[in-house]
């Protein structure tokens, strides 16, 4: 991160570089720009949603160094050098991510506004490797509100996509930090 310029108040606009959906991006951000506003307003990546802006709904869930976080409650400036995956970065040339496909086939949404956050959260949850039962999934997906009430279908979609998602992402070793300073270590699926 470098200080690029300062405005009239002496507040610095800083330049950060992040690997966003696999592509290195260098951006100028104010210190108060949240990761969420950076995505939505500066980069026009509006797939990550703003439902509450206070970490109370999960619609802004993204994968930061592979771990699910609320993009609304963190500052962009704090993530220089980080790796960020948003809903826009999940599908590949081969098609949709299995979690995305499962959400469609199980009709795991209605209005679709919480959906990107649900999908990113579900992938993050699979990587955490702590959900062993339906009740575990329900509990561990409780950070993502769905006002349409599609929870049973969300559960069904996640159960269906879990094995293939696990094969893709691997499972984190306990103790790896969210900011990935010591690297996100994958263990064999």
């Amino acid at each position: 991160m470098t200080e690029a310029s300062a405005n009239a108040d002496g507040i610095a606009i800083c330049s950060i570089t992040i690997k966003l959906n696999g592509e290195p991006r260098t951006l100028e951000v104010y210190p108060w720009t949240t990761l969420l506003d950076m995505l939505r307003e500066q980069l026009d990546l509006t797939g990550t949603k703003k439902g509450c802006d206070h970490g109370q709904c999960g619609a802004c869930t993204v994968l930061l160094n592979g771990k699910r976080i609320n993009a609304c409650l963190t500052l962009a400036i704090m993530h220089d050098g980080a790796e960020l995956t948003t809903i826009e970065g999940l599908a590949s040339e081969d098609g949709l991510h299995p979690m995305q496909t499962a959400f469609v086939t199980h009709d795991a949404f209605q209005c679709g506004y919480c959906t990107p956050g649900q999908i990113c959260s579900a992938i993050g949850m699979v990587a955490e490797g702590r959900a062993q039962s339906a009740d575990d999934i329900r509990e561990q997906m409780s950070g993502n509100l769905c006002r349409c009430g599609a929870y049973p279908n969300i559960l069904a979609a996640i159960e269906a996509a879990m094995p293939e998602t696990r094969n893709r992402v691997g499972v984190f070793e306990a103790g790896a930090s969210a900011d990935g300073h010591d690297g996100v270590r994958e263990v064999k699926p």
């Binding site: 610095a12 970490g55 409650l73 955490e128 509990e139 561990q140 969210a178």
Partner: protein
């Protein structure tokens, strides 16, 4: 959020020397940014401490564990050492917030969470904690979530943390660095009651930084329970929570710890209540007595008086569960 400047030191002494009159340290940011967006906190400078070397979990020479202040709540709860030796702490952490927030929030930051009192959060209404001297509308207003113990004329807010309830029960020690050097604070002395200074949540001095939490060797791994009662099944703050830890030998209690969450401005413990259990059979009559002692002096308001009875039952249930053995 108001405009602010930002710094990211890499050494502890550097962080402390950067701290000015309207500075705040930021790590996970999950509560600070939340409050800044509502104009409850208006720092002129944020000091990002995530570059400090405070993110490890290590065993101490006397058999305890030292947890770096920057270890995330999730990593702490799922750390093998914590799961095995301090399951009470792991369970309390996992009962709080959401998986996303637990991935972000730091151990040190968890201690510094501010109350969820509605009035504190709404900067258009009076609140003695937010703006001393403006009054406490919660006393005659919406006080269902509020304190039944240790409240004052000025403030009836409660501390919202789950993790801290377990840390209180486990007799954790907070390591602090500041302009005056380093010091250790016993957990029970870390948070404070509101009294006449409700704006102060804890005993940290200006510019002091939490560097680590130390757990003593006794983890009560065999007999502990964390019970949280709330208005929905997950992702809600506690109405009442109980961290119960027992050391039982042949059915007789040798040592006991009970801490309550959601009932006071700090995690609530009572020495007499814990002492009353020692030498007793780990059975309901002893639990009932301990609950009565713990709740001595409790008083509620219009909407939260139920918490006294709820807490009594929750204490008994948690002690009974702990006596049965820590749940898998």
């Amino acid at each position: 959020m108001n405009p602010f400047s930002y710094a990211r030191p890499t050494r502890i002494d550097e962080a402390i020397s950067l701290f000015g009159p309207q500075s705040r340290y930021i790590a996970g940011g999950t509560n600070l940014l939340d409050l800044m967006k509502e104009n409850v906190e208006r720092p002129k400078q944020l000091i990002d401490i995530t570059g400090l070397p405070l993110d490890s979990i290590e065993e101490t020479a006397d058999g305890g564990v030292r947890i770096g202040a920057l270890v995330s709540n999730a990593d702490l709860a799922w750390h093998a050492l914590i799961e095995r030796r301090y399951p009470l702490l792991a369970k309390a952490i996992l009962a709080g917030a959401s998986p996303q927030l637990r991935n972000m929030a730091s151990t040190g930051g968890n201690l510094l969470q501010r109350t969820r009192c509605y009035y504190f959060y709404d900067s258009t209404v009076p609140c003695n904690k937010r703006e001393p001297g403006t009054g406490c509308p919660a006393r005659d207003g919406l006080n269902r979530m509020h304190a039944i113990l240790g409240h004052s004329e000025q403030c009836i807010a409660v501390h919202p943390s789950d993790m801290c309830v377990a840390l209180a029960a486990l007799d954790a020690v907070v390591h602090v660095s500041g302009p005056q050097g380093e010091r250790r604070v016993d957990f029970r002395d870390f948070h404070r009651l509101p009294g006449d200074e409700p704006e102060r949540d804890n005993t940290l001095a200006e510019g002091e930084l939490i560097t680590a939490i130390e757990l003593p060797a006794a983890g009560y791994a065999e007999h502990s329970a964390y019970l949280k009662l709330r208005d929905r099944a997950s992702y809600a703050f506690a109405l009442v929570s109980v961290a119960a830890a027992l050391d039982i030998d042949g059915g007789v209690i040798r040592s006991a710890r009970i801490a309550l969450g959601g009932v006071a401005h700090k995690p609530w413990r009572d020495d007499a209540a814990e002492a009353s259990l020692i030498g007793e059979a780990a059975e309901p009559p002893a639990f009932d007595r301990a609950a009565q002692l713990l709740l001595q002096g409790a008083s509620g308001f219009e909407h939260n008086a139920f918490k006294i009875e709820l807490a009594r039952r929750a204490i008994k249930r948690a002690l009974a569960e702990a006596a049965r053995g820590t749940a898998a």
